[in-house]
């Protein structure tokens, strides 16, 4: 389930490989990564992280990227919070939007404005790590990391 509304183009498998490699290269908390086979018609990248908010000891990003540069980075914890960074046509929100924690139901403009997989992945990781270091999920969609 991509959950991406609109004409997104096919899923871009090579972009998922790029995104996985960035997580593995720059984020030491990655404990596991899983990427579907190249010919899976619903390919998805799952990245598990060995830390979570509050009592959670782990969290996971489910990631899809398409050839029209549509994406979702969907963060979820078992029995815990959920949020999503999205870019795709959406009738009730800007194309680039954020589904807020705790349940990822609302849609607000996203703090992420860069567009390539190389940059969006680094921005998502920075947002997540900044909020995690403050143990405050409400800080995930924040463009700044003040002292």
């Amino acid at each position: 389930m991509t959950g991406l509304l609109g004409d997104t183009g096919p899923v871009d498998y090579d972009a998922l490989v790029v995104i996985r490699d960035i997580f593995l290269d720059i984020e030491p908390l990655v404990s596991e990564s899983h990427l579907s086979g190249r010919l899976d018609p619903r390919p998805e990248l799952q990245i598990t992280l060995a830390a979570g908010f509050d009592q959670a000891t782990s969290g996971r990003f489910d990631i899809v990227w398409t050839e029209a540069n549509c994406y979702h980075f969907h963060y979820l914890e078992s029995d815990g919070i959920e949020f999503r960074f999205d870019r795709h046509p959406e009738p009730n929100a800007p194309t680039t939007h954020f589904h807020e924690p705790p349940d990822a139901n609302s849609r607000v403009p996203s703090c992420i404005t860069v567009e390539s997989p190389e940059l969006v992945t680094r921005a998502v990781l920075a947002c997540w790590r900044t909020a995690l270091s403050r143990n405050d999920p409400s800080k995930v969609n924040s463009a700044t990391n003040p002292p």
């Binding site: 997104t8 010919l39 830390a51 703090c111 860069v114 700044t144």
Partner: protein, 175 residues
């Protein structure tokens, strides 16, 4: 668990650009950018997206054109650049052949054909383009199927190409 915060930043987007530039060379970035460009694009625009100087970009593009990875399109006022589609397909085929043997490709082809046929039957339309014409903007399941159909269709053609390559490779080897 104590989590170290990232270094301070005023704008996460600018910070992502700085990190990308620190971790890669200008040539790496041009290559990454141009592989996702499928419409003829000026070198200056590629320089902006790759955060690289125009001379380095022109130099790298010339090398990539020589390698056949990038196509230069004459546009009167100078060249425009895009990824070389045939080479892109060839590289996709090589990646498929690395991941699947011939028997697996045949079996995947069968599955992909079934997937595509199921979408045709379910929606009563012949193509993802036709499906896009009948979906409501907020039809989550419908658009999910649309993305899947497009992906399956692309994979189907690439799988056929990969199988033809096996045949051609055998034919050439036996000459």
């Amino acid at each position: 668990m104590d989590i170290t915060p990232p270094a301070e930043y005023d704008d996460v987007n600018a910070a992502a650009v700085t990190a990308w530039m620190d971790e890669t060379t200008a040539r790496d970035r041009v290559r990454a950018v141009v592989q996702r460009i499928d419409e003829p694009t000026p070198a200056a625009e590629i320089a902006t997206r790759a955060r690289a100087s125009e001379p380095v970009v022109r130099d790298t593009l010339t090398d990539l054109v020589d390698l056949g990875i990038v196509e230069a399109v004459d546009a009167g006022q100078g060249s425009l650049y895009k990824r070389h589609d045939q080479m892109y397909i060839y590289r996709q085929v090589l990646k498929l052949q690395a991941a699947y043997d011939e028997r697996e490709l045949l079996s995947e082809l069968k599955t992909l054909k079934t997937t595509v046929q199921e979408f045709r039957d379910a929606y009563g339309v012949e193509s993802p383009t036709e499906l896009a014409g009948v979906l409501a903007p907020d039809d989550t399941d419908g658009w999910d199927d649309h993305t899947t159909w497009q992906t399956a269709e692309k994979n189907l053609y690439l799988t056929k190409a990969a199988l033809s390559f096996h045949d051609a490779t055998r034919a050439v080897a036996s000459l």
